[in-house]
Symmetry: C2
């Protein structure tokens, strides 16, 4: 019982700072995406392709969450967008206070979209609301078709599912149909993309979805 | 400060039950392996191949750790070994008390090896000692060459690193040389295997290593 109460306490505290972050994003009209996946599902590469597709029309900021190293922030920084690295120093997920602390690094008045690349982990990040408008989960087909039912929470909470590395399907025993069936049984409202950053498959649909979300957020901006 | 003390408390409690488990395994002469990786790196398939290679000569037990579902236990059970499923119901790792609770399901007097397949997560499971003799981390080449430095703890603590799915290397931009270089810079004592369960590459070396560990453990068995 004690353990449960403690966890509720941690999550409750996290949610209230998440709400503060969200209020700020709403006032500024910034669409905020929390990008989550297992290690190596392709978050950073998808993010690089996304920036290339959108940066001429939108001002994009990126927060990179990693346990150690700043490799990802260096990769993203090379694309000419504002990027801040958070090293969690062991912690398995980002939380809302880590996000709050680094927001001063960004010129929020000019940003259209802030993408938060979470720590590579299909479990813990899902529990921590950061203030985002949407969570997107990336699942690489190399991870296998059984993952939605084995890691249900992240698929239940996500607004978008990106089934990635589909160029490798000919060499794998993995059914995209089963992934989609299981994921939508958990979450019928999921928007699903099938992508490959190697062959550029599906990136246009992903770009259009993001553009739609950015423009919705701009329209619904809360004025002070 | 409070958070750090609490964590030490949790880990300290976990370690002492882990020590109890270890004492029991030592008395019984059972080699215990804690198998860890990201989701979808190939733990269960490697385990199936391992059982096929060893079950005629050794009595093997398996504990399957998953957040939800019993798919993996069903796959393992089909190979005719003793298997117990632990569903963590959300928790991102196994701990030593979960292991202690299910040990009564096994005939420990006849077991030579117990393999614990941890929850798919490259972060949290590394922190929790279960009573095992060795941790093995599996890294799929589809996850990318940068993972050892980005998730250093698990590579520091492992006795063996299995670089898996090497049959997919021709279709990927991933340097096994860099994985090995970075992993051994973190942990020079690592024993490293390069495997594919599809082409059966490297499985014989893996089998020989396990046979060696099982026989060392039998020899060092502590008598009551």
């Amino acid at each position: 019982m004690k353990q449960i109460e403690l966890q509720q306490d941690i999550l409750g505290h996290n949610n209230s700072i998440g709400d503060e972050n969200r209020d700020l994003f709403n006032r500024k009209g910034i669409f905020v995406l929390n990008l989550m996946s297992s290690p190596g599902a392709g978050k950073t590469t998808l993010l690089e392709r996304t920036i290339e597709l959108l940066k001429d029309n939108f001002a994009i900021g990126v927060i990179e969450g990693d346990i150690a190293t700043s490799y990802d922030a260096e990769r993203i920084g090379a694309h000419g967008v504002e990027v801040t690295q958070i090293n969690t120093g062991g912690a398995c997920h980002l939380d809302s206070s880590m996000i709050k602390k680094v927001l001063t690094n960004f010129e929020l008045d000019r940003l259209d979209m802030l993408i938060i690349e979470n720590v590579g982990n299909l479990v813990c990040p899902a529990e921590f609301f950061l203030g985002e408008d949407a969570k997107a989960v990336i699942l690489s087909v190399t991870e296998g078709e059984d993952k939605p039912l084995k890691y249900p929470l992240i698929f239940r909470l996500a607004k978008a599912l990106v089934i990635n590395k589909v160029d490798l399907l000919p060499y794998l025993d993995c059914s995209v149909t089963r992934i989609i069936g299981d994921a939508t049984s958990l979450n019928p409202a999921l928007t699903i993309f099938e992508t490959s950053c190697t062959t550029k498959t599906g990136l246009n649909d992903w770009r259009k979805w993001l553009e739609g979300e950015i423009s919705k957020k701009k329209k619904n901006r809360t004025r002070p």
